[in-house]
C-alpha cells in the first residue's frame, strides 16, 4: 500500500528518494502483517504465545527433565532403591551416594528417582482421571441441563461439603492402602472441581449463536456438546489439570508423610519424607529430607508455571 506515493506527480518528477529509518519500520510492520495472515493454524498462535512466556518455558523444561530422569531411573541410579546396606547407614552425600543414604543405608538419590515415578503417576494419573470424569459429565450436563445436571450437581456438592483431607482419610481407612486405591480416592475427591468448571464454561457457551445454529439443524446434544462446544472450553480445563496435578502430588506427599499413602515398601516422594519424622534426622541428617523436599517443590512449582502459561495462552480476552 505505502509503495504508492502520496502525490502521483512526485514519482514522475523526482528520482526514488533514499530509504529512511521510517521506511524500514513500515517494512517491518508489513512483514508482521503478512506473517500474521500466514498463521493459519490457531495452534501455531497458541504455541508461540506459550513459548513467549519465559516462566512457562522454564516450568516445562524442569517438568520434562524430572519426568525423564524418573523414567530413566534404572539407567541413572547405580543402587537399588529398596535394598538396605547396613554398612552405610545415614552416610552424608558422597561420590558413591550422591544424596547420601537413609537410616537403613538405602541410596536416597535412587529413591528420589524411583519415587518420582510413583508420585508423578499418582499426581498426573489422578488429575487426568478426574478431568476425564469431570469433563465427560460436566460438558454434557452443563449443555442439556435438566435432571441429569441436578443429580450431578448434588453429588459434587456432597463431595465438596466435606473437608477433602477428612474424606481422603476416611476412604483410605475403608479401601486400604495401595497405589491404585490412592488414585481412586484422589479421583473421587477431585473430579468435582473440574466438573463444576467445565459445566460453568458450557453454560456460558450454550448461549452462543453457533450453538443455536447447530441446534436448528437438529444435531444431537452429545455431538454439539462434545464435538463443537468442548474445544472452546479446553483452555481452562488444561489449566485445571496442571493445577490439580500439583495439588495431588502435594497430597500424596502429605498422606505418605502421615503414613497413610502408598504402602511404605514402595518408594515415593512422600514415603521418603516420612523418614524425616524423626527429630534427630531433621536436625542432623539434612540430606534425608532436603533433596526430596526440594524436588517436590521444584516439580510443583514447574507445573504451576506451566498452568499459568496455559492460562495466558488460551485466554480469549488476550487474543493477539
Amino acid at each position: 500500500m505505502s509503495d504508492v506515493p502520496l502525490n502521483p506527480g512526485d514519482a514522475v518528477r523526482s528520482p526514488p528518494r533514499p530509504r529512511t529509518r521510517r521506511d524500514a519500520q513500515f517494512d517491518r510492520i508489513r512483514d508482521r502483517e503478512a506473517a500474521r495472515q500466514g498463521t493459519k493454524l490457531r495452534g501455531g498462535r497458541f504455541l508461540s504465545k506459550f513459548l513467549n512466556n519465559r516462566l512457562a518455558v522454564v516450568g516445562l523444561v524442569i517438568f520434562a527433565s524430572i519426568i525423564l530422569l524418573s523414567l530413566a531411573a534404572p539407567l541413572i541410579a547405580q543402587h537399588d532403591p529398596k535394598s538396605p546396606n547396613l554398612r552405610a547407614m545415614l552416610d552424608p552425600p558422597s561420590a558413591e551416594h550422591w544424596f547420601g543414604t537413609d537410616r537403613t543405608g538405602r541410596d536416597i538419590f535412587a529413591r528420589v528417582l524411583y519415587g518420582g515415578r510413583v508420585s508423578i503417576l499418582v499426581g498426573l494419573g489422578s488429575a487426568l482421571l478426574s478431568a476425564l470424569i469431570g469433563v465427560v459429565i460436566g460438558v454434557y450436563s452443563g449443555y442439556v441441563g435438566g435432571w441429569l445436571d441436578w443429580v450431578a450437581m448434588r453429588i459434587s456438592e456432597i463431595f465438596m461439603s466435606f473437608p477433602q483431607i477428612i474424606l481422603v482419610l476416611l476412604l483410605v481407612a475403608i479401601l486400604g492402602q495401595s497405589l491404585l486405591n490412592l488414585i481412586v480416592i484422589f479421583t473421587l475427591t477431585g473430579w468435582g472441581g473440574i466438573y463444576r468448571m467445565a459445566r460453568a464454561r458450557m453454560l456460558s457457551i450454550r448461549e452462543e449463536e453457533y450453538v443455536q445454529a447447530l441446534r436448528s439443524f437438529g444435531l444431537g446434544p452429545a455431538r454439539i456438546a462434545y464435538k463443537h462446544m468442548l474445544p472452546n472450553a479446553l483452555g481452562p480445563i488444561m489449566v485445571n489439570i496442571t493445577l490439580s496435578t500439583a495439588a495431588f502430588i502435594l497430597q500424596e506427599a502429605g498422606l505418605s508423610f502421615l503414613g497413610l499413602g502408598v504402602p511404605m515398601s514402595v518408594p515415593t516422594w512422600g514415603n521418603i519424607l516420612n523418614a524425616a519424622q524423626d527429630l534427630r534426622l531433621l536436625e542432623n541428617a539434612w540430606w534425608v529430607w532436603l533433596p526430596v523436599g526440594a524436588t517436590i517443590s521444584l516439580f510443583v512449582l514447574s507445573v504451576n508455571f506451566i498452568g499459568d502459561g496455559l492460562r495466558d495462552a488460551t485466554d480469549p480476552s488476550q487474543q493477539g
Partner: protein
Amino acid sequence: MQPSEPILRLRDVHVHFPIKGGVFKRTKDHVRAVDGVDLDVYKGEVLGLVGESGCGKTTLGKAILQLVRATGGSVTYHGDAGETELTTLDDAGLFPFRKRLQIVFQDPHSSLNPAYTIFGSLEDPLRHYGVRSRAERRKIVGDLLEAVNMRREAMDRYPHEFSGGQRQRIGIARALSIEPELIVCDEAVSALDVSIQAQVLQLLMDLKREKQLTYVFITHDLSVTEYLCDRIAVMYLGRIVELCDAEELFANTLHPYTEALLSAIPVADLDRKSERIVLEGDVPSPVNPPSGCPFHPRCRYAQDVCRTDVPALRPYRTAAGGEHLAACHLIDQPPAD
C-alpha cells in the same frame, strides 16, 4: 404482492419463561415473551417482524424454529406432504422439518465456532443430512461460499480471519446448506456497517429469487423493512399490534406505536411530515404487562378505555382492498368485520 398459500401458520402462540426464585426454586412468575400471536407466513414472501428490543420478536423467531418451545398455541408447517403441527413434535419427529426451516443470526462474532475452520463448522450439518463423502462435502461448502460471493478457499480459514460482513455471509451460507424453504433472519444486518448492510441485504434478495426462499425478517429498524419486506408485523410486548402490506403500513399507519417508530426514521423527503414522536420511558416489563392496551403508558393518545380494555387485533379495509390489521381502540375507521 399477495402470495398464495401459507407455509407457516401460527395460532395463539405463547412463550412464557418461568422466573424461579427463593430457596426452593419455585416458579415465582412468568416472563410473557410472546403472548398470543396469530400470524401466517406465505410462500415466497418476505415478512418483516418489527419492534423494539425486548418485544419478543427474537423469541417468536426461535419459536418458529422450535429452538424455544411454545408454551401455548400451535405452529403449523404447510409442506408438500400436508400440514404438520411442529409444536407437538419431539426432537426426532422434528428432524425432517429442521431441513425446511433455518436461521441467520445477529451477532457475526458468536455465530461461527472459533475452534473450527469454516469447513469444519459447515460440514457437520451436511453429514447429518446424509452427505457421506468428504470430497462431496467440500464441494458443497465451496459452492455455498461462492453463492454468497466468497472464495472457495475461505473454507479452510478460521472465523477470526474474517470481517463482520464476511462472517455474516458465511452464516447465510450455513443456513442455505441444507436447502431450506424458510429462513428466519434475526437482525441479520443490524450489527453491520451501513454500506455492508446494503451488500448483505442485496445478497439475501438475490438468493431469495434464485432459490425461491421465504424470509421472516426480524429487525428493530423499520427503514430496513421498507426496502425488502412484502408485509410487516409490528410487535409490542409479545403481541402483534399492526400487520399489513409494507406499502400500506408506510402510507396509512394506523397504530400509534407504529407511528412513533416511523417518526424515528430520518427522512430525506422534505414533503413528508417529519415531526418526531419521542417514545417516553422504556418498554414495560413483560413480567407485569400494563393493564388494558399494553402500549398505554407511552401512548400519546391514551384514553381511559385504553387503561382498562385490551384492544383486539381487528381488520380494516385498505384503499387497495386488502386487509390491514391493527390493535387500537382509537382508530377512526370502522373495522371491516
